[in-house]
Structures are given as structure tokens and as C-alpha cells.
Symmetry: C2
Subunit: 203 residues, 2 copies
């Protein structure tokens, strides 16, 4: 299935600024993107990067550049259905988790993210539009309903964790075993235990 | 399957103190416990509350009181196998999610929580002990391996979200549809959108 992977190469993961320099955030974001593209491909998907600006380096997928707001760009790119949308910062996404997304029935399939977000979607109904503003998980269920589209959700931890806060790096270090986790380890990040509670330190 | 639900009735959810009084935290924790017991029962499990102190009110399950540290109390209670352990603050847990836990093969089944934790377990191997201290997800995989137990993980958002931080309440309000979510709504909590980002407010 064609799978859009929206990506902002300009100033990614600003909420990680306390831990990573701008260059490091760009490198880490590119590693996460590569991991997601790889998971999509191994699940049998055909990834297309939907970038908000031209990329600096190479990635292993076609790249469409569209500098309009995310929802506008995604809806335009969803012309040919079925198609999926998978966020570029799902550093825990495995081929198995993406496969569950593809395998779910329903005209619209939604995988929630933390905090009311939508981290992955499958769209098989032409009257459904995405809107990533606000409580998008709830809004996507309502939009599917309004379009008369049967909706299904995918209950996946690996699709629910998007990496944008410092505490999210702990999940990458514990559960990640590909490029983004390796990048963090090479950059000196480790899991430490402080009074019984896991935490992230940089050596 | 017998399913232990560890519960601390004395001073639960201290990290919600900024939003809830001590009485409110106790009431909210009891609602979450009831939701978890209900989900376990609907999935065909037989819940047993493993409480660190006597409970004030009634709950719809047998209660074992054990004031020793959590891991000690759980290991002792895991005498008769197979058995499961499901945390009491999994306010998003559905019968379907608990069913996936029960249905997973493996001598040891682990459902991760955020931050390296273990939110739910099935134990079918008598040489496996729990240890909730530190990076318990990783430690449980290693302990299963050391015991020669086949391990399986359950990839579930609904089992991964334990409620202890203020931001977790957003997930309860968006995804919960039972007692704990109702309790929050009755207490005046609502989802608001602030500059495109969902947030929790109290009216």
C-alpha cells in the first residue's frame, strides 16, 4: 500500500533541544525517518516521504516536497486510494506493527498517539479528509463517521509512541533496536536507574 | 486465568497532586481499579486485588492484603500458575486488550508500559520471578530468558498507558469510556485545544 511519511527536515524535534543540538536533532530525526521507511517497506508498503522542504541527504524512498500545512499536503497526496499515512517520528514502529495497520479492516483505520493524536492511518474511503489539528484521534473518528466510512482502530504501543519529549528517548533506548536507537547509543545516551526509576543520561 | 491486580489504597497517584486532592486521588484510583477489574472479568479472567493495605470501600473482587514490597508480594501470590498480573492504574485497558494478553503464547508474556515499565504479565513458568524495580520490561525479558522460558510481548497502547502524570489524564478523557473517565468528567475535567495542541482543563 502506498504509505505517506510526512517529514519536516527544517527544525525537527524542537522539544528535544535541551538534550540535542540542532544538527543532532536533524541527524536523529533522519535516523527515525529511515527506520520508519524500513518498517513500512518490510511490511509490504511503498513509502513516499512527504517533506515540508527539500531534504539535505538521501533517503531510501521517493520524496514529494510540499510546504503547505500538514493536513492540506496529506489530503492532496491522498488522491489515489487506498493509502496510509505513518508519522516519521515513530521510532518504535516495527514491520509487525505496520502490518497490523495494513491488515485492519475498515474504510478508515486509525492508530492513536499519546495525547489525543493520530500517529498512523489507512484511508480507503474517498470522502474522508485528515485534520491533524487538535484532538485528531477523536476528530478522525468523527470525520469517518460523518463520511459514512467504517472505522477501525489499531491498539499498538509501538505506533502510539511518537518521539518528541526527552522522556520519549527512554522508550527508544529500551524498545528500539535499529538506526535511531543505535544513533542515541553512539551519541552517549544510556538508561540509568535513579531510586528505582529508569531515566536517560548522556555520558 | 487468575489475575492479580496490585493496588495501593493509602496514598495513590501522588504525581497527580497538583490537579487532585488526596481524597480525589483515592476516589479516582478506586474508579481505575474498578475499570481494570471489570476489563479482566469481561476477558474471562478471575481478578484478585493484591492490596498493600486494607481497602476502605467494597470492590467487586476478592482482596488479599500484603504490605510487603510489590515484587515480593506478587511473587508470593504467583504460587498457582498460570496467572496474570495487571496494574490497577491502566485506565484505558479494555476487555479486548486483556484478552490479547491471555491469548498470547509463551511461558512469560509481557506488556510494556511507558518508560521501561511492565504493565501486565502472564506467567506460566514456575522459575520466573517478577521484579518491578528499575527497567522492569528489559529485566523481565532477561529473567524469562535466564529461566529458559519462552517469552512473548503484547504490543498494546491500552495496556501501555498507566495513569500517573497530569498529561495522562488527557488519554483517559480521549480514550476512556468507563468509570475513571466518567469520574474525571464529573469532576469538571475537559479536553481543550490550545494553539492546536490538546490539553486538559478543569472547569
Amino acid at each position: 500500500m502506498q504509505t505517506l511519511v510526512p517529514f519536516d527536515p527544517t527544525n525537527p524535534n524542537t522539544r528535544l533541544s535541551a538534550l540535542l543540538s540542532e544538527d543532532e536533532r536533524r541527524a536523529f530525526a533522519t535516523e527515525m525517518l529511515s527506520d520508519v521507511l524500513d518498517a513500512v517497506r518490510r511490511a509490504g508498503g511503498e513509502p513516499v516521504v512527504l517533506a515540508s522542504a527539500p531534504l539535505d541527504g538521501d533517503v531510501d524512498a521517493p520524496v514529494t516536497v510540499d510546504d503547505r500545512p500538514l493536513s492540506v499536503a496529506v489530503n492532496d497526496a491522498l488522491a489515489a486510494l487506498p493509502a496510509a499515512v505513518v508519522m516519521a517520528d515513530l521510532a518504535l514502529a516495527t514491520p509487525e506493527a505496520v502490518q497490523r495497520l495494513y491488515d485492519a479492516g475498515g474504510d478508515v483505520v486509525v492508530a492513536p498517539g499519546r495525547g489525543g493524536g493520530t500517529n498512523a492511518l489507512v484511508v480507503r474511503h474517498r470522502d474522508f479528509d485528515v485534520d491533524y489539528h487538535g484532538v485528531s484521534f477523536r476528530d478522525h473518528l468523527a470525520a469517518a463517521d460523518a463520511a459514512g466510512a467504517a472505522v477501525e482502530t489499531v491498539d499498538s504501543f509501538r505506533l502510539a509512541v511518537d518521539i518528541d519529549e526527552p522522556t520519549d528517548l527512554l522508550d527508544v533506548l529500551v524498545h528500539g533496536n535499529r538506526g535511531a536507537a543505535d544513533w542515541l547509543r553512539d551519541a552517549g545516551f544510556r538508561v540509568a536507574v535513579d531510586d528505582g526509576t529508569p531515566t536517560v543520561v548522556r555520558e
